[in-house]
């Protein structure tokens, strides 16, 4: 049995993708990305800024709800975590619903700021724990924000990576394709292919995703857990507490 939980692996994977980031924004409903951002901040010696939507203590914003979007528009945020009810092979994301619109069979919460931020923040990291053909689809049912383009439309950022509960991918906007970068411990590449509803590039043999370092684990289970607990108390108590 691994010396860490599945969530702790994902937190480590996401935190490593933040290496070198200067200002990271995390949207709503994102406990794992939020924890990863706070972990990366701790690892950076607090030189990285984190804006955690819904947090008072881990957000420096004082100009109301619009400041996150204005700040991104000013080019002051370099990295963003985004999720997706559905994600397709061209990195289009759907946060609205599947099975028709407006009367969706399965309704998701809504697009939040993705319809703007996906264009405006240089590095967007997609995260979704569930890795299944239900989530990773050939074509999303509703485009909350497109992965690429449209041509001629002002855009200064977009998706660079996708992390799921099974694997990590990078994204190449020129080729509009994901590429498998690593498979998480205990998962097989065939399993990943079978669970992915779209085609993607892959090396002959994909490396195994490295687990969290002892330093990372100590931070996640200690100070970072307390920090994320302000915004996600259920998550901090049920998932990150080593005693739970």
């Amino acid at each position: 049995m691994a010396a860490y939980r599945a969530e702790e692996l994902l937190i480590a994977v996401l935190a490593r993708l933040l290496d070198g980031a200067r200002h990271v924004a995390v949207g709503a409903l994102s406990p794992i990305p939020g924890t990863a951002a706070l972990l990366a901040r701790a690892l950076s010696g607090d030189s990285m800024r984190v804006a955690l939507l819904g947090s008072k203590r881990h957000s420096d914003f004082t100009d109301g709800g619009r400041e996150l979007f204005d700040c991104a528009a000013q080019g002051r945020i370099d990295t963003l975590f985004l999720g997706g009810g559905q994600i397709d092979g061209e990195a289009n994301i759907n946060l609205v619903g599947s099975g028709g619109y407006p009367r969706s069979e399965v309704r998701f919460p809504g697009s939040f700021g993705s319809t703007f931020l996906y264009y405006m923040i240089p590095r967007v990291i997609l995260f979704r724990a569930e890795h299944s053909p239900r989530v990773l689809v050939p074509k999303v049912d509703f485009v909350s924000a497109p992965g690429v383009g449209p041509e001629g439309v002002y855009r200064r950022g977009g998706p660079v990576a996708l992390v799921t509960g099974s694997a990590s991918f990078s994204f190449d906007p020129a080729r509009r394709r994901f590429r498998l970068e690593s498979v998480h411990p205990g998962r097989g590449i065939d399993e990943v292919v079978a669970a992915t509803g779209f085609d993607f590039d892959r090396p002959a043999s994909a490396p195994v995703t490295p687990g969290p370092s002892p330093e990372m684990l100590a931070l996640v289970r200690g100070p970072v857990r307390e920090q994320i607990g302000e915004t996600y108390p259920q998550f901090a108590a049920a998932v990150l507490d080593p005693k739970s």
Partner: protein
């Protein structure tokens, strides 16, 4: 600092929201007037055009489940850590409400357009999304300062009423909102603002520069009601956190129409039964 502060009781406050009104409400973390919302449900005010500024949660779910909402304009509705908003999800499935799906900065900008008295504001992004495809009220023009540079124009969004809960109101009708400045934009954009306050501040919020910095002046405040625990079961700034047990229970009950009815009967019974 002129005028008598227009404090009224909660039922009087919500009676100013007419059926069919465009009602602006803040996100769950920003000061939601939940007691007033229950009073609105009790009253049976319906056909609301509800505008989440820019998202909502329990409040929208409650109003939708109780049949108060005809149209919902929002960037998202969910119960956050407590899962999907069940009555919202069900109303979408059944087609009971008309949806105007938006995105957070579009709602902020459309309110700012009304704040500034202009018919529209431009916004980057959006083009190529299905959000735009379903918003026939939005326009794309070629940026007159560029060439071959399409950009979205959002029409000004002018709520009839903004409704929210704040920590403090003073005797002049000024309201302390701290750094929750989305409430300022909402109030500037709305024709009327109705506010419940946790406590009444003894003094003039505009007289102390430190308090004034976080104060919405009475100019924009139509009426107030003193309502301790007015945001419950959601959080009120430093006064109380959200009531997790209650929200868990709500999320469980609201999964079915019957469970939701039981919740309503307990927490927002119709007036005659109260």
């Amino acid at each position: 600092m002129s005028n008598e502060a227009p404090y009224v009781d909660l039922d009087d406050l919500v009676s100013r929201i007419e059926a069919g009104a465009t009602l602006a409400v803040p996100p769950d973390y920003s000061g939601v007037a939940m007691a007033a919302t229950r009073a609105l449900v009790r009253r049976g005010t319906d056909r609301l055009h509800l505008v989440a500024c820019p998202t909502s949660g329990l409040q929208a779910d409650l109003l939708i489940g109780a049949g108060c909402v005809a149209t919902l304009e929002a960037a998202a509705v969910s119960l956050g850590e407590f899962g999907p908003a069940p009555r919202f999800t069900e109303a979408v499935r059944s087609g009971a409400i008309t949806l105007k799906d938006s995105t957070c900065p579009a709602i902020h900008a459309a309110l700012q357009a009304t704040e500034k008295g202009v018919p529209f504001l431009p916004l980057r992004g959006i083009i190529g999304s299905d959000v735009l495809r379903h918003r026939s009220d939005w326009r794309v023009i070629d940026n007159p300062f560029g060439a071959g540079d399409p950009i979205v124009l959002l029409p000004a969004l002018a709520p009839d009423v903004a409704l929210f809960h704040a920590a403090l109101g003073d005797g002049f009708g000024n309201v302390w909102i701290g750094r929750r400045r989305e409430l300022v934009t909402m109030a500037h954009a709305a024709r009327a603002s109705l506010v419940t306050v946790e406590e009444v501040y003894d003094g003039d919020l505009l007289a102390d520069e430190r308090m004034a910095a976080g104060t919405l002046p009475a100019i924009y405040v139509t009426a107030l009601a003193r309502q301790p625990r007015g945001a419950w079961p959601l959080a009120c700034a430093d006064h109380y956190p959200l009531d997790a047990a209650h929200l868990k229970e709500y999320a469980r009950l609201a999964r079915s129409a019957e469970g939701f009815s039981r919740y309503l009967a307990r927490h927002a019974p119709p007036r005659a039964a109260a």
